[in-house]
Symmetry: C2
Subunit: 336 residues, 2 copies
Amino acid sequence: MISPRSETILNLIVSKYIDQAVPIPSQSIAQEPALGVSSATIRNEMSRLENEGYIIRAHHSAGSVPSDKGYRFHVESLKDISLSESEQRLFSHLFHQVERDLEKWLSLAATLLAQQAQNMAVITTPRPAGCRFKHMELLSLQDTTALMVLVLHGARVKEQLITFDEAVPQSSLTIIANKFNAAFSGLHREQIMEKENEFSPTEEQIKDVLSRTMQDDDEQEYEDPYLDGFHFMLGQPEFTRSDRMRGLMELVEKRRLIKTIIPKELESQKVTVTIGRENEDETFHSYSIVTGKYGISNEAVGTVSVLGPTRMPYAHTIPSVNYLSKILSDLMSGLY
Amino acid sequence: MISPRSETILNLIVSKYIDQAVPIPSQSIAQEPALGVSSATIRNEMSRLENEGYIIRAHHSAGSVPSDKGYRFHVESLKDISLSESEQRLFSHLFHQVERDLEKWLSLAATLLAQQAQNMAVITTPRPAGCRFKHMELLSLQDTTALMVLVLHGARVKEQLITFDEAVPQSSLTIIANKFNAAFSGLHREQIMEKENEFSPTEEQIKDVLSRTMQDDDEQEYEDPYLDGFHFMLGQPEFTRSDRMRGLMELVEKRRLIKTIIPKELESQKVTVTIGRENEDETFHSYSIVTGKYGISNEAVGTVSVLGPTRMPYAHTIPSVNYLSKILSDLMSGLY
DNA sequence: ATTAGCACTCTAAGCTCGAGAGTGCTAATC
DNA sequence: GATTAGCACTCTCGAGCTTAGAGTGCTAAT
């Protein structure tokens, strides 16, 4: 890749293909007012681009389709684009209209992002580095059954049923809850386990359940993510053959999706784009994933992603992911 | 429909078609050892069945495909079948292995049901008739922000952020929570609103949020249901053409599915089967829905359903829905 | 009432063929 | 040397045709 004209042509091919989902002929590029050359010249450039692996032809005399390498070039060329001011304002406005509630925010973000990218949006809930006890409540439901409501730092709430061997009245439960609240406030699970006060058997049991619940939370890689826009993805011409999506569908349903989708390294604050065969998992060899990180470092971090075919409107998707990450981070700082 | 032999033949056609998804020729029925007649005889019976609208032929000389009326007959003929004892034991066993937690139960039930029916299972969470206050907790997050944790009867937990105009310390919040807990225990929303104690502005604000949260809960038709087995459905040969499922996909995603899916009348404890054009909503004219009710009457009721093409393994699906409703009802009685 | 036998119908898959789209190459032009 | 017009060549896609075979409906025999 040398001449600037080659770059222009490649970018035109990629944009047009993303738009039209049809192999792009040299003529259609020649018509572009940006460059005043004939289709024959374009053809020369195109065969060079093909030799260098930026574009692919289905057969001898077919139009051009970008390769992964072609998409990669295109993506690099627009990494620094940001969302238009009017869209930024619209987004902010929408977020300030909904209730102050993490779930509502994430759900809204997923919907907006899917809409922008015309593909599936995946937003994971913030992962605390290691959850910390904030408050607990014990409520008697029946003689031997109680509900434990556990509040962790960062406005995370967990519930768990507990069954005792013998009847435990609400009054005892309240006393125990108060005792635990005083003793465990702000502690991590390990610190709670170390505490060796003298506990009654009932208390020990509750402490056990508490510990297991917190451990669950720590171990859980991600909760069910917020998904939206699967139907946009299905609408793409890539999926007229339905078998194409079977495997993917199962991934989504089984929620195994997430582990595979999120890039291992999420060091940088920048948006990460993984294109086609750059994905380690073979299932995604014809998909691209655009991922951003949001949240508060060292406290709780989640991801904002878009999954779609490699032919994805990166020019809309990347800045949207970027801006939504920023909004969510800002909103979340109010919770910690 | 008169002769018992006609009935046998119709049932054979339906079962075979459900199994094979291919029009059933007279020969294949004649081979059945159950009735020792030739294919010509079957053909005579078949043309009678066709005249009466139980089966349909794609064209002049094609095999038989059941009509909605045919499926209806088939379903009526097996309404009283129950799950095999071994499967009943297996199901019970599985339910007693998981944690005592409503979410886990519903999720397990959805997975089992989808597996049995080889189609999509939809389980709605129990709807309380009108929610009742059990307990609340107020936790300060930042100076002017608090988290309200609201526990309703039936082990339902709700969270809501509250933002105050001025700083409110944890100590004040605790006092307010105690006051409310004492005053509102066991009450419905309307009853809480009627209470006209003298409240401070902060208390009024919290009471307002409380009321809105409870109203939300009352108005919300259904929460997000538990879905499983969409991929089974996609695997059915009905869906080799992908456009067939687009609309459906969107329904699932937008959660509008539920309102449309659940029969208006759920009086009886029996399982309800709605076949093809019996569905009011046109979208489901080529689908069948099998629905059962579970829960505790007048307290909290949810539904267990299977959605799939009219060619659905009713013989497995109906007893499974039936038995799972029973299991879930039994389990839930422990929560009230 | 049942059945064997056969002619008839309809589908689905394969096949050819021509039109059209788009390229690669060559030779002329700037 | 870069660009371009012109044209032959390649490949795809859909239309139309053909044929094998699956399955029925009918008739005449049992």
